[in-house]
Amino acid sequence: MSLLSVENLTLQFNTDEGLITAVDDVSFTLERGEVMGLVGESGSGKSVTAKALMMLNASNAVYGGDSRITLHLDDGDVDVLALRRARDMRVVRGGAVSMIFQEPMASFAPALTIGSQMVEQLQVHTDLSKAQARELSVEMLNRVGISDASTRFNQYAFELSGGMRQRAMIAMALSTKPRLLIADEPTTALDVTIQAQVIQLMQELVKDFGMGIIFITHDLGVVAQTADKVSVMYLGRMVETGPVREVLRNPAHPYTQGLLDALPKLDDLDAPLKPVPGDIPSPLERPSGCVFHTRCDRALFDICTATVPDWSRAGRAHRVACHLNTGDYCA
């Protein structure tokens, strides 16, 4: 049985300017030990989707009526969206689900030592005594490659470099042995050399701990290096999903193709850089029909502007939501 299933997730924010749709009818499943890359540009709803899994969205979030997020744990299923009390949410907030945030400086409290924050969350989520929690925390810091872990344990976040802070964040997120880890742009703020270290570390940890990971990033190279399957989001809708090899080698959606074409490639320095035309529309002016039609150079006037495309097959386990891929319009 899969670890996580998300069905028809729709999420709107109630603002002064009206209801803003952030996530629109998104469904996916994640198996145990599987790494899913969630790709899209800013404003595509990938972080909001991840936060919904932990019920971390602001209080003005309105979830759609038939939205369901189910976490299948060993001791029963958890209906995440039905959780109401903060005490009940502990299971998705650090218990069975942990999250690594993008900015490691902002994710640690500046006035508490790294160690006291690690011990505190272990005491909330496990039955360990303070001494045991301390021991486990130092062990985890060691595990993620922080040298001199018992000294680092007593230091504050500002005393650590960016790469080390992100390692400490990973150590903290994994110390409760979560079944699902959400990594929201964990390497974006890091230098390439440190990013390579963190990617290697995460590949090892997946092998050792066997948890499911949702890896949110805008960098397709990072996805290629880490993920088993990849889902591409645009303006709150999922537009393509499939095994990472298939999607990156034979992208079926014009948006995925555009993202790949826009990347500067090192093996051909003469290739012109092709931007995806236009800008991402304001969330207040969501396009009708296929949300991507305003920037798609292959949009068909009548159908793409009027009808929301259904999912269709583009390969084994590779699906795409695009009219151009359906039988009637197949090129």
Binding site: G162, V192, T193, Q197, A224, R245, L259, P264, L273, V276
Partner: protein, 344 residues
């Protein structure tokens, strides 16, 4: 034409240091830029890459006279005017400000939310007193807005109405409005999505070609640099470790640091995993620099010589400069050099 007269920016042993306090009575100098000699030809797209803390931003700011130069020399010569950047002040500094401009990294932080786009772009003209009448200002603003592919109706709006790519075009228009010959683009595309990034890079390239503006392009992203720059300098701890025409650098990097940077770029091929030659550790603090070659604690090929003596810069006829004791040994076995595991 001699090569010297074609050079726009030329530095010799340029140094930028910041005084720091180590203890109550101890003072020290943090060397952010430590002995940089570069020549940027007129009309070039000169790239500077390096990790955070390598001093690339400080170099850019020193060339704009935004931080004081503490040693060495730097000159600017666009044919019409020549400045010695170490001693600029008064009217000459004002004149230099008009000729050298900066594009910032974060277009969300760089634009005042209380000013219309027209006022943002017009501000440098008014501050520098380059236009006499409002009509003249408006005409210049419209002209530069068109160059940066902004709609005229955008000029009446405020920055919050714009996406990241459009904001960056506004920042570029503001930098260009006074007609600079030299523009420092400090991580100008780092905050943008890939789909927009390509658009801004193409815009900068077209400005270089059509207006003949010389760019110093500072970036941590090697693939972006590879596609835009003519010449690339790789910085590490305030020094340039390798500098070469882009093609030569990317086809045959000589310095082990450059090689490690290349291999750290995540490959788009999922079957090409774990190939990265992962560099040990992190960039040291500039207040506590390693002896000899400053890269030796992280270098897989470091020898005793590297710990003792700093390498001299070696430059060949094609303009490929490298500062490493062992680069020739490493180049002889490129296969071994690129696949060898870091020494423990």
């Amino acid at each position: 034409m001699s090569p010297i007269s074609q050079t726009l920016i030329s530095t010799r042993d340029l140094q930028v240091g910041f005084p720091i306090r180590k203890g109550p009575f101890q003072k020290d100098i943090l060397k952010a830029v430590d002995g940089i000699s570069i020549d940027i030809p007129r009309g070039a797209f000169f790239g500077v890459v390096g990790e955070s803390g390598s001093g690339k931003t400080t170099l850019g700011r020193a060339l704009l006279q935004a931080v004081p130069v503490t040693g060495g020399s730097a000159t600017y010569d666009d044919g019409a005017q020549r400045f010695d950047l170490g001693t600029l002040s008064g009217a000459a500094l004002k004149d230099y400000r008009r000729r050298a401009q900066l594009i910032f990294q974060d277009p969300y932080a760089a634009l005042s939310p209380r000013m219309t786009v027209r006022d943002i772009i017009a501000e440098p003209l008014e501050v520098m007193g380059l236009t006499k009448t409002r009509e003249e200002t408006d005409a210049r603003v419209r002209e530069v807005a068109a160059t940066c592919r902004l709609n005229l109706e955008h000029l009446r709006r405020f920055p919050h109405a714009f996406s990241g790519g459009q904001r960056q075009r506004i920042s570029i228009a503001r930098a260009l409005v006074c007609g600079p010959r030299f523009v420092v683009a400090d991580e100008a595309v780092a905050a943008l999505d890939v789909s927009i990034q390509a658009d801004i890079l193409n815009l900068l390239k077209s400005l270089q070609r059509e207006l003949g503006i010389t760019f110093l392009f500072i970036s941590h992203d090697l693939s972006v640099v590879a596609h835009t720059c003519d010449h690339v300098a790789v910085m590490y701890l305030g020094r340039i470790v390798e500098s070469a025409p882009t093609r030569a650098l990317f086809h045959a990097p000589r310095h082990p640091y450059t090689q490690a940077l290349f291999s750290a770029i995540p490959s788009l091929d999922p079957d090409d995993r774990g190939r990265a030659q992962v560099l040990k550790g992190e960039i040291p603090s500039p207040t506590n620099q390693p002896s000899g070659c400053t890269f030796h604690p992280r270098c897989a090929f470091a020898s005793d010589l590297c710990k003792r003596a700093a390498p001299e810069a070696e430059k060949d006829a094609s303009g490929h400069m490298v500062s490493c004791h062992h680069w020739q040994d490493l180049m002889r076995t490129p296969a071994e050099a690129s696949t060898a595991a870091p020494a423990q």
